[in-house]
């Protein structure tokens, strides 16, 4: 699992978090996660593929716009 930079805020209950990830296209993807899947400034996601400086990651949940996978810039990864 990789740690991906994210803005993480509290969700509607104590165990829920809302994370915002910047995609390679510059769009902010929103995803609802459990607290265990996030840190204060990152979320956990699986790396699927690489293409130049972009990395395809699979999120632990679907984004609000309906995608499980998003391309992010390599510099959004914080390492394992």
């Amino acid at each position: 699992m990789s740690r991906v930079k994210a803005k993480v805020i509290k969700g509607s209950n104590r165990s829920e978090r809302i994370a915002y990830i910047k995609t390679a296209e510059g769009v902010r993807a929103e995803v609802l996660l459990s607290a265990a899947q996030t840190g204060s400034n990152h979320i956990l996601a699986a790396e699927i593929a690489r293409d130049n400086n972009n990395v395809l990651i699979e999120l632990p949940q679907e984004t609000s716009s309906g995608y499980w996978r998003v391309w992010v810039k390599e510099n959004q990864l914080l390492g394992e």
Binding site: I48, L56, Q61, E62, S65, G66, Y67
Partner: protein, 185 residues
């Protein structure tokens, strides 16, 4: 057994199943692939329903679905810029943009299911009919129903449902020959 993303891609590469056009990599998840909304819809013709004066559907050998559909629905294309507004409690027939083919010899069947992002808003994509039989070929018809409290804008190309592939145990004796084989949008 459910096919993972890698198995789906291997099956596609080996032409054991086909999805046309082939899905973008971001449309996959671990065990499913998202399909997108086609521009064609069938919406209910309320003028005709009004004229029917409370017709009751009697299911049986004399009931002809195609005739019923043609009488009470009309085809339309979703305007690409404005989309189609699905009001609360509205129900329309839609299709996936992608055409799928599950040849019998591939021993694969599938299920079409909703997506959590849409389910949270109240949008259902089928009415208790998720099974895609081995042997099926065509676009998948979706029964879109808005159970939510807000209108939802539907736009062609949006991820609308997910397809989960399952291996069958053995090859079916009879290929799928249901009335929806090679159904058209």
């Amino acid at each position: 057994m459910i096919l993972t993303d890698r198995e789906i891609q291997i099956y596609l590469a080996n032409r054991q199943i086909s999805i046309k056009p082939e899905p973008d990599p971001i449309l996959y998840s671990s065990t499913s692939v998202d399909l997108t909304l086609a521009k064609q819809l069938r919406v209910w013709s309320f003028d005709q329903i009004e004229k029917s004066k409370g017709e009751i559907i009697t299911l049986g050998p004399k009931f002809k679905y195609a005739e019923f559909r043609d009488k009470y629905t009309k085809r339309m294309n979703i305007p690409p810029s404005k989309g189609y507004i699905l009001a609360p409690e509205a129900f329309v027939l839609a299709w996936t943009h992608e055409t799928i083919n599950l040849p019998n010899h591939s021993k694969v069947a599938a299920r079409v299911e909703g997506k959590s992002s849409l389910a949270r808003l109240g949008l259902a994509v089928h009415v208790t009919a998720p099974t895609i039989h081995a042997g099926f070929e065509g676009p998948i018809q979706l029964e879109l129903c808005n159970h939510g409290l807000f209108s939802i804008r539907l736009t062609p190309g949006m991820p609308i449902c997910q397809l989960i592939f399952e291996m069958t145990l053995g090859t079916p004796a009879k290929g799928y020959s249901g009335i929806f084989l090679r159904q058209k949008k």
